[in-house]
Amino acid sequence: MVQKFVRGVRALFRRRQHDGELDEELRDFVEQKTAAKMNAGLSRTEALREAHREMGSMESVKENVRAAGWETTLEKLWQDVRYGVRMLHKNPGFTAVAVLTLALGIGANSAIFSVVNAVLLRPLPFRDSGRLCLVMESLPSFPQLGPSYENYQDFRDQSKSFETIAAEHPQPVTMTGRGDPQRLAGQFVSASMFPLLRVNALEGHTFTEDEDRFGGPQVVLLSYGFWHRSFGGERSIVGKNITIDDVSYTVTGILPPRFQIISPADVYLPFAPWAHALPDDRNWHPGINAIGRLRDGVTIDQARAEMSTIAERLVKQYPIYDTGMGVVVVGLQDRLVQNVRPALLVLLGAVALVLLIACGNIANLLLARAASRHKEIAVRAALGAGHWRMVRQLLTESVLLALVGAAFGLLLARLIMTPLLDLAGNTIPKMGNIGLDGGVLGFTLVVALLAGILFGLAPALQMAKVDMRPALSDASRGSTAGAGRHRMRNILVVTEVALAIMLLVGAGLLIRSFSRLQDVQPGFQPSNLLVVDLPVSPKVYAQSAQRMGFFDQLLERARNLPGVTSAGGALILPVTGSGSAIHFNIQGRPPKTPHDYILVGYRPVTPGYLQTLRVPLLQGRLLNDSDTERNVYVVVVNETMAKQYFPGQSALGKHVQLGALPENQVPWMEIVGIVGDMKQSLASEAPSEMYVPCRQADSLIPIFTMSLVMRTARDPDTEVPALRSVVKDLNANQPLVNIRTMQENIATSVSDSHFRTVLLGIFAASALLLSLIGLYGLIAYSVAERTSEIGVRLALGAQRDDILRMVIGQGLKLVLIGVVVGLAGALALSRLLKQFLYGVVPNDPATFVGVALILTAVAVVACWIPARRAMKVDPMVALRYE
């Protein structure tokens, strides 16, 4: 094999020498043959003629000899490429249209694939990242959640399946002392995390076990990006101090570029000091991400089995806390992408369909061109080109076309990458770089080759099948040319229409679902609300009175601003998709079994908050300034909670208590009011919620962050400077985080739905446009081809309206078949969208019918244009032309 290859390559470069030798050898052969004939008594001329006759064409022999080596295949390919380039160059119009169509189709595929590649396919940037797992708890009310600190420690210490289990907790922090206070993404990370991930510090060192303990030195690691942004990449920062949450930390190291654990962070702080402050409660789930690395030779199923045993043991050991607790072990990457995977795959499928339609169009163009290339092909066939040789030549041409299209497509993908990622916003986990890397280039190349063969094969087979006699004689007019070609073009158009219908139905469902989502009443008036998050320093505001005093002053000043009508604050805003649920119990109804624990959305709010949002009061009263920790503890509940826990009776006057089991030292809270439901997420029903006056709530669980909400008289954005100065006056070191309007807040909550709806909409629109172009092309071409036939019909007395009807009817027949096939396909595929739909069923009749009608209507227009041309055929001109 190797020898063959080497000889082939040598032959490729010593072509001239080889040919010369072959010539000589053949001449010698003829010479000897002639000599032999002369010996037999022929004259030299006769002998020579005889010898040549017996030998046949010298050129053909040479060709055969060359064909015996593989290198000739390369030479022929090169010939085909050169010929293909000439052909494409000779038809600039065709080439431009085809390249443009392909560039759009392939470019869109490359762009979407680069996201899929970066998010779903590329492994996490850690060594052996496939061995990394996320270890979570499962509880009866939560299928998956980060473990409590105590359980995490037991998992870590008892499991043998993992090298170790490291922990991480993300929490925003504030850096002061360097210009304006800066809000940073912080993460508390156990020292074991870095060796677990096999990551070393770029500068300095990662945490030591001694640094990761309560009372240890105050140290911090910086992310590469933050280091460059805030310290200009200055190495001397290592060993210096920075102030975070009013505590001075020593920078011990810089992490490598693009390092991130689950979510990006600017600064990393040791885990143990943070965990030390947690309440001593196995049932307290503060949001810990526990990451384990499987030991060599241990499978994830073995790890699962072991962790289940540990969980059972813990449940027996701590029955009150760990009731119903189980352990979930999932691959880290699987877990990170599980929310985006379905949407990305649907988008990739959709964009592939668009490319398929584009291929259909180009195949159609090629078939139409086949007619004009008939002669060229026939001549080549007559000169001895074999059938396969010709198919190869034509395929080379289309693959060439696809490759040029792909090159432009990559340019296009580069251009649309930024807007695409902007549109995606935070709906895609930013794992590493999303861009056109080697993987994307390879994918694009493969897609281009496949596309080239796909759209080129059928036309090539058709064209190469030419019967050369009628083609060479001038009598060949289109009228009889290839019924097979017509059938194929019809099938192509039907397929395109069917694919377009499927995409349109998908997009239609998402659009309807999205508009339903927009119509959802959030339960309050979202217009003219300005929102800002105010995380206060746990050091400066260590005492409850200090925190509450700050919030009171802030609210008072905010309310006094001229453009502000009312203001309030809450720990958690509505329509953010997040929330905090807490165990509670009802007076006189203690849980009978440990499984009776009940949960409620826990919403500490300031007086004036519910009024500012304009939530309707249904019964009782709202909270007011006298609901402080010194007075009777009260709560306002939402309608869902009142109905869920006090059906058929009034909830007013009932008492509830935080905590799963009644405890004497925890105050009972009286329900004093019932308000309408507010949505926590537009797409789901409102959860049961209780609103606790923040001063009372803070005495139970300290509150270190508050979202301030102001109702403004005019455009909320105009109040931003006033808001800033109010906060600055109170505390110059207080950061204002994420100033936005409530409506922006709501838009963010549906941004993933927005992302896929917009993209699928664009793909469906392109599909519609492409299939219409295909249909138009087919009808226009067929009208041109049938000009003389139409002329005859008119001459024989057909009415012009008949012609119009005939042409439109021809197109409409194809469209209707396509619509039916497409609707059937959509019916089968729309289930895939089920999880993305809100308020619309996957086989929503209105969408299906609507899409079918729209497509048919525009298809009629696409047929009507060429049909009008057919109607205007002058029979005299048409017949004379014949």
């Binding site: 000889r7 010698d28 022999v61 055969n64 000899v65 396969w388």
Partner: protein
């Protein structure tokens, strides 16, 4: 990478020609015309070897490493390309001959049986 090339029908069953060339060269190195003549003579003119198949076969066998080539002077002092059987070619000839005899014997049995 490799496509079917088409090509003219050979007078001999594909593969047989290769075997005959190898057999001819087993005696001594020879040039193209000599090989063609020899096959014709020995087969009593049953096999007419056409250069259109002969030279491609040379190329094929050479590529397979069964033949070597050398330019030598002929008996009438002209330059000609001589084909030489290599050691691998010899082995190939042996195995092909064995296989051929086996097939012939089998076919003969079938014909006799009827």
């Amino acid at each position: 990478m490799f496509f079917f090339m088409g090509g003219e029908p050979t007078e001999l069953v594909q593969g047989t020609l290769d075997m005959l060339i190898l057999k001819t060269l087993a005696l001594q190195p020879m040039h193209g015309y000599g090989i063609a003549m020899r096959i014709e003579q020995i087969s009593n003119g049953v096999f007419q070897v056409n250069p259109g198949s002969l030279f491609p076969a040379f190329r094929r066998l050479e590529r397979a490493g069964w033949l070597d080539t050398e330019w030598r002077a002929t008996e009438n002092n002209r330059r000609a390309k001589y084909y030489i059987l290599t050691e691998r070619g010899r082995r190939q000839l042996k195995s092909e001959t064995r296989e051929w005899s086996r097939q012939i014997a089998a076919i003969a049995r079938i014909l006799e049986a009827s």
